[in-house]
């Protein structure tokens, strides 16, 4: 009997259970889900503040434009009024 040869034969590797790999992978999933959630949170944190800033800037620009349009309208009305008064005085003077 060659003990060393017998030991090698007796200690041949045994295949892991058929669902072993699936069970290991299932145990890695919570970590994958966690990493995905962290990645999603980082993405949201990176995208949302610039988005909000852009929205506010656009809102301010719209308000400024509206105010300018209003100011120009008032000025136009005033100018029209002055022009009418000038014309009135000119007619009376003649």
């Amino acid at each position: 009997m060659n003990l060393e040869d017998d030991l090698r034969r007796a200690l041949q590797r045994e295949a892991a259970p058929p669902d072993f790999a699936a069970r290991v992978l299932a145990r890695t999933r919570p970590r994958r889900a966690f990493l995905f959630a962290v990645a999603a949170a980082v993405t949201v944190a990176a995208l949302v503040p610039p988005g909000i800033y852009q929205y506010r800037q656009r809102q301010k620009a719209t308000e400024a434009r509206d105010q300018l349009v209003l100011a120009l309208s008032i000025t136009q009305v005033q100018l029209l009024h002055i022009q009418q008064q000038i014309q009135h005085h000119t007619r009376h003077a003649q």
């Binding site: 060393e4 017998d6 034969r9 200690l11 590797r13 045994e14 295949a15 892991a16 790999a21």
Partner: protein, 163 residues
């Protein structure tokens, strides 16, 4: 480059599971320990440089986890090896009982000696590699091997006489 964990798992599951099973002689415990070791590897996959590095890391990890587990359980070779199914590979030896007896006798060796024998005859590692893996002097590895073989040979002969 991140390694393919699924591939590492497929390539090494037999190695890790077999070492744990032969050492603990407890199928459920071996599977749990093997799963834990693969999860540990998964968590540090970024630090693993190659498939060979992964294999070496897994072998080292399962050896140390097994020895720790045996200490925790204060493991004594009282669990019948009959509970452990036969290897899936076809036996080469015409006497399957011989393998059973050998595995049972290996299970009765002290923890360190048992792991040395498993690494030598299951994993076919030489004493230098075993010494590196288990952080023990090479002389201790050789001594474990020599004494284990003597013990196993003696017990096998004793059983032959008793039969």
């Amino acid at each position: 480059m991140r390694l393919d964990f699924n591939r590492i798992l497929a390539d090494n599951q037999s190695l890790v599971f077999s070492l744990a099973l032969r050492f603990l002689r407890d199928r459920a415990g071996a599977e749990e320990l093997a799963q834990d070791v693969f999860l540990q590897l998964y968590q540090r996959l970024g630090r693993i440089e190659s498939p060979a590095h992964a294999t070496s890391w897994l072998r080292r990890a399962i050896c140390h986890r097994c020895i720790d587990e045996a200490r925790k359980r204060r493991f004594r070779p009282r669990v019948a090896l009959e509970a452990v199914p036969e290897p899936s590979t076809e036996p080469v030896n015409p006497d399957p009982l011989l393998h059973d007896r050998l595995r049972r006798l290996i299970g009765e060796l002290p923890d360190s000696a048992r792991m040395v024998v498993l690494l030598r005859y299951q994993e076919d590692l030489d004493p230098t590699d075993i010494a590196g893996l288990l952080n023990m002097p090479i002389s201790t590895v050789k001594s474990h091997l020599h004494r284990s073989l003597t013990v196993l040979r003696g017990r096998m002969q004793k059983q032959e006489i008793c039969r």
